[in-house]
Amino acid sequence: MCLGIPGEIVEILPGHTDLAKVDVSGVRRAINVGLLENERLQPGDWILIHVGFALSKIDEEEARAALDFLEGIGQAYDDELAALRGSSIDRG
């Protein structure tokens, strides 16, 4: 749970101003973006995610470098993705 993982916003979920569908290494899940309410997030933006919440907006270059790094660390990232796959947040 300790990892911050980058994800790309696919869509802001209609009717839920705090929720966005986010793609993390091919896993798409709803993430709460309420902590970044001043960032005017849009599809295509990258965010750093921790336990279902976006902590900060990051640029694509940073996101790609962080993903390369995480994909290289092996088990800890696999475990995080497995946990994310089990997530089904549907309300903020």
């Binding site: 750093l48 921790h50 088990q75 089904s88």
Partner: protein, 374 residues
């Protein structure tokens, strides 16, 4: 060496390594603490010590949230989980952490209902789906994680969910750093500051370290180059006789932190007078509890909590490892009685724990290699 073969920026790493070596004063030994478990993970995964002169020692700090939970709090959580009609929810990392009476996994085997969740919002969903049960979320973590718990409590309050509470074990990083600075066991020359915690708290809370203790701190990212760059920045400060707080990870960490997150924490939680940390003992104002106005979501008010106090197993030296006094392999049970499969101490449980990082990457520290070849 894995790092040289695999890492895309090996050239840059070698260049940094040379610059680091050139800044070290002959005859002077340097000790830097990396506070965050994520940094410990990177250092051992990539063998970063091999890129540093032998006069630089990296010391692991207390920044692994799973590692600092004392056994008594695990027992208290299991006590709650065993109440009739309770569903305990927890991050996967907590499941194998041993208390005095076993772990969450052991408790599940004996019939308690404990579910792994990715997010506190998933725990809240379990509560919505099980109105006849009371769902408790085992809330752990530093300021990185506390906003998520706080936002979830705010959501539960807005929806007036009556069967959800948190068992709050959130801790704060600053008092732990202060405890280490005040400890007579360890003399440090500077800190590699935590990255993700700082996205929330920003850089200002560290200023006392430079001002009152005269030590530099550089907030660092998690990639190998980030850590080498941060060590370089620490050495530049020392060479110039400065001690300041600097931000190597500015591409992610804003100097002022995340105000919305800080407000959410402050709305839902307040500081406890004191809290027990594994290895560091009781530290004043070092943890968070739920405020009175959110009492309906506070498992400590809803359930009778035994307040268990359990001494760590005698053989376990997690305390010394967490304070940076011992290297993991210097612990008597490291890799023999204590392994990631059958951990005795918390440092072996989490992949962020110093012992698990050493164990999983099969990397002997250079001190040990020196000892073995002597």
């Amino acid at each position: 060496m894995r790092f040289v073969d695999e890492y895309r920026d090996a050239e840059k790493a070698r260049a940094l390594s040379a610059k680091i070596a050139s800044l070290c004063e002959p005859g002077r030994a340097y000790k830097f603490m990396e506070v965050c478990g994520g940094h410990t993970h990177t250092i051992y995964k990539h063998g970063l010590e091999d890129y540093l002169p032998e006069t630089i020692t990296l010391v692991h700090g207390p920044g692994c949230p799973v590692c600092v939970i004392p056994m008594g709090r695990v027992d208290d959580a299991i006590h709650i989980a065993e109440r009739p009609g309770v569903v305990m929810t927890s991050f996967g990392d907590m499941m194998r952490v041993p208390g005095g009476r076993g772990s969450f996994f052991d408790s599940m085997a004996q019939g308690a209902e404990i579910r792994m969740v990715y997010s506190p919002l998933d725990a809240l969903k379990v509560a919505r789906q099980n109105p006849d049960k009371h769902v408790v979320f085992m809330a752990i973590g530093f300021e990185t994680t506390a906003p998520s718990t706080a936002m979830t409590v705010l959501r539960a309050a807005a929806e007036e969910i009556g069967n959800f509470s948190i068992f709050c074990n959130h801790v704060t990083i600053i008092p732990a750093i202060k405890a280490i600075l005040d400890s007579p066991d360890l003399r440090l020359d500077g800190f590699i500051g935590p990255g993700h915690v700082s996205t929330i708290i920003g850089c200002r809370p560290y200023e006392f370290i430079a001002r009152d203790y005269g030590k530099p701190l550089v907030v660092a990212g998690f990639e190998p180059l980030d850590i080498l760059q941060s060590i370089y920045m620490l050495l530049v400060q020392l060479a110039e006789g400065r001690s300041q707080i600097e931000n190597q990870y500015a591409r992610v960490v804003p100097w002022a932190g995340n105000l919305k997150a800080l407000k959410a924490i402050n709305e839902v939680m307040e500081l406890r007078p004191y809290f027990e940390w594994r290895g560091l003992g009781f530290i004043s104002h070092s943890a968070l509890k739920v405020r009175e106005r959110y009492a309906a979501f506070d498992a400590e008010r809803i359930f009778e909590i035994p307040g268990s106090r359990v001494a760590d197993p005698k053989a376990c030296q997690c305390g010394e490892v967490l304070k940076g006094v011992l290297k993991p392999w210097e612990c008597k049970v490291f890799g023999t009685a204590c392994t990631p499969e059958t951990p005795i101490g918390t440092c072996m449980v989490s992949s962020e724990g110093a012992c698990a990082a050493y164990y999983n990457f099969g990397r002997f520290s250079r001190e040990r290699v020196r000892e073995a070849t002597r």
